[in-house]
């Protein structure tokens, strides 16, 4: 409900628009799979086919770099690709979210945060489906004897990791959506940036763990400790490395709060600058 007095506070206002948020996320999901034969199956097929391609192409290449992983490569790649696809899909959606909804931005009032948030929300649904497939893959590799499942209390960290990733994605998404509204170049930069990040975040290519300068520089990317933490919980059955995770968490929260505050401050200009 749009009440003038709600415009003062961010959270209470957003709570009022919770239903709208889900309607928009549902719209994105519906539209993504409308008029398609396979429908939601694509949520499984996309990361799975990426995994197959990378397994095919990189098994030798990765081995040649000496950056070995003690996991079966397919499992390593898929466990990285699932959160990565969530990250890149949400971000790609966010960048365009305001511009693509120009009609709504200029014709209807509601908190503009709803647009990037709905993108993260709709990507989250695909993420959940892909995560279920990961479980199936783990069962397959365990049954084949290529990998052993070690149940560990760290599994309980999984929801926390997802929340940290969502915070990071949402914060970045708001910043990029806003930036793209003013300068359309941002979308291109994001496309290139995501291509680069795919190879330096430990998604399909392991990050060197030798303490070298390169390794430490790569470690500044919060996705590195985050993805490592996913694998620790799910595949290795051990607690993630504390400092890295703490760093990723603090940075993600800072990005979320900073991005959101900036977004809110600029939001009143959106309708006339779009």
């Amino acid at each position: 409900m749009l009440r003038a007095e709600y415009r003062a506070g961010a959270l209470p206002e957003l709570a009022q628009y919770g239903q709208l948020l889900w309607s928009l996320a549902a719209r994105d999901i519906r539209v993504r799979y409308k008029q398609s034969l396979l429908g939601v199956t694509w949520a499984v097929l996309l990361p799975l086919s990426m995994m197959l391609i990378f397994t095919f192409v990189f098994t030798r290449a990765v081995r040649a770099t000496g950056l070995a992983t003690d996991l079966p490569y397919a499992l390593y790649a898929y466990s990285g690709l699932v959160p990565w696809t969530f990250f890149s899909m949400a971000l790609t959606g966010c960048v365009n979210s305001l511009v693509a909804n120009r009609n709504l931005v200029t014709k209807v009032y509601f908190p503009r945060e709803v647009f990037p948030l709905a993108c993260v929300g709709s990507a989250l649904v695909d993420f959940a489906i892909a995560l279920a497939v990961l479980v199936g893959l783990m069962a397959y590799f365990a049954a084949a004897g290529a990998w052993t499942f070690r149940p560990h209390a760290a599994l309980a960290l999984l929801p926390f990791l997802i929340l940290v990733q969502m915070a990071l994605t949402t914060g970045l998404g708001m910043l990029l959506a806003m930036a793209n509204l003013f300068y359309r170049d941002v979308r291109q930069v994001v496309t290139v940036g995501l291509q680069l990040l795919l190879f330096v975040s430990g998604v399909v290519v392991p990050i060197p763990a030798d303490g070298s300068l390169a390794a430490r520089l790569l470690g500044l990317n919060p996705l590195v400790p985050l993805l490592a933490a996913y694998r620790d919980c799910l595949l290795y059955g051990r607690w993630p490395e504390g400092t890295g995770l703490l760093y990723a968490t603090v940075l993600s929260l800072a990005v979320l709060l900073g991005g959101w505050a900036w977004f809110r401050r600029a939001a009143f200009k959106f309708a006339e600058c779009i």
Binding site: L2, A4, S23, L24, V31, L104, F182, Y183
Partner: protein, 428 residues
């Protein structure tokens, strides 16, 4: 409630023209220009005050019309009220759940079905799912789209699209409803239902702010209206008076410059020179914008170079620059004018101009009835716009009325007739 539901207090809104950057390249270029100290444009030149020092208020449950020529700032006012834009100066106050219908179907997604779009659009307009579910049937019935509920809206006709859009917004049950010129869509029957629905909402206590060009519609819903001209309030008060002010403003917007005709406007003869042709209303104000049925005077000024004993004037009204629609010939009316060298003025008075809405032109011909020479034949000039409030179709609309001429009770089937008493306008 004592406080106004909607209030503008000395509100100004400025838009920047020109220096908006669309790509980083433009930004860099502008930055370099600024570094070199060459400012592309001054504040004044690049700033448009879309709304300047506007104040008005609508009490709770009141219907307020906002009218004015294109570019007067009407839509900006509405978007400021809706919270889409923020005022640069002054204060915008609104109280209560507010729903803005600035464009029908904004937020529709073509790939979604009518039903899915109702839920999506309802949420966009601030309704809860349960609320939408409860109103679904009413929304669909109002739009008349029962059969197409599960068809993607990309397959809808533009009329169906608009009907669905208005229907959703009309069922939000807001405390404040903002409507921007949306009733120009759909057929006459649907427009009528929209007006009825708005009146219904106002009767049940909704505050309505209605931006429109349709003066009759506005008057039928709103008791008070604000007239905007170039971003400022030129009148605020009774709707009927506001309409008068607005029509005057429109006439000014269409104002004619002294007509300077091209050389070929002169006819074969050399005895008469065209000076000007002006259109005047009953108050002798120069007009180019009239309401259907208003009286009109066409005043012709000619310079005679030689004496002519029997001069004939003909004024032709044209809907297109080439084709005559109506002809007024002084000779056929047995009026011949004797002129001596010098300036002469002639006036044609039409008591009630029976034209339907649209743009019209005038053509002037002058003959010397004795010599048989055409002295003057101008190209189409003196454009004028007739506003008939969308009532008539076809070229003309005559003074008429409808009534029942049988007893209103127990009329036998098929016997009911309605007589149109056609009264021809007496001018001409």
């Amino acid at each position: 409630m004592s406080s106004p539901a909607v209030q503008f207090v000395h509100v100004s809104k400025r838009f920047r023209l020109g220096e908006t950057h669309d790509s980083l390249g433009d930004l860099l270029a502008a930055g370099v220009r600024r570094l070199r100290g060459r400012r592309g444009s001054t504040e004044d030149a690049s700033t448009l005050w879309a709304v300047r020092d506007v104040s008005f208020a609508a009490e709770a449950g009141e219907a307020l019309g906002i009218i004015g020529p294109n570019g007067a700032g009407k839509s900006t006012v509405l978007r400021l009220l809706a919270g889409i834009l923020r005022a640069d100066e002054g204060e915008v106050r609104t109280h209560g759940r507010l729903s803005a219908l600035i464009e029908v179907g904004a937020g529709f997604h073509g790939d979604l079905t009518g039903r899915e779009n109702i839920f999506l659009n309802g949420a966009i307009l601030g309704m809860r799912r349960a609320e939408i579910r409860g109103k679904l049937d009413a929304v669909v019935a109002f739009a008349g789209l029962e059969r197409f509920l599960d068809t993607p809206v990309k397959r809808y006709s533009s009329g169906m699209y608009a009907r669905l859009g208005f229907s959703i917004a009309a069922h939000v049950d807001p405390e404040v409803l903002l409507v921007d010129e949306v009733l120009s869509v759909g057929d006459a029957a649907f427009r009528l239902r929209c007006v009825e629905r708005m009146r219904e909402l106002v009767q049940t206590g909704t505050t309505l702010v209605f931006v429109t060009h349709n003066l009759d519609q506005m008057q039928s819903i709103c008791r008070r209206a604000v007239v905007l001209e170039a971003g400022r309030v030129s009148f605020a008060g009774e709707a009927r008076v506001a309409v008068g002010t607005y029509l005057k403003a429109m006439s000014r917007a269409f104002a004619l410059r002294p007509t300077d005709l091209p050389v070929n406007a002169r006819g074969g003869g050399s005895g008469v020179e065209f000076v000007n042709l002006r259109l005047l209303n009953a108050d002798d104000d120069e007009v180019a914008f009239l309401r259907s049925g208003e009286s009109l005077r066409a005043r012709v000024r000619l310079h005679a170079h030689r004496p002519i004993r029997r001069l004939v004037l003909e004024l032709n009204l044209r809907a297109t620059p080439e084709e005559n629609l109506l002809s007024f010939n002084s000779g056929r009316d047995a009026r011949f004018f004797e002129v001596v060298p010098g300036l002469h003025e002639f006036t044609l008075t039409i008591a009630g101009i029976p034209l339907s809405g649209g743009q019209y032109f005038w053509n002037l011909r002058v003959w010397d009835a004795d010599g048989g020479t055409t002295e003057l034949d101008t190209p189409a000039c003196a454009p004028m716009v007739i506003d008939d409030q969308g009532r008539a179709t076809g070229a003309l609309t005559l003074d008429h009325q409808w009534e029942r001429t049988s007893p209103s009770h127990a009329a036998p089937h098929g016997a009911e007739t309605a007589a149109a008493a056609l009264v021809a306008p007496d001018g001409g």
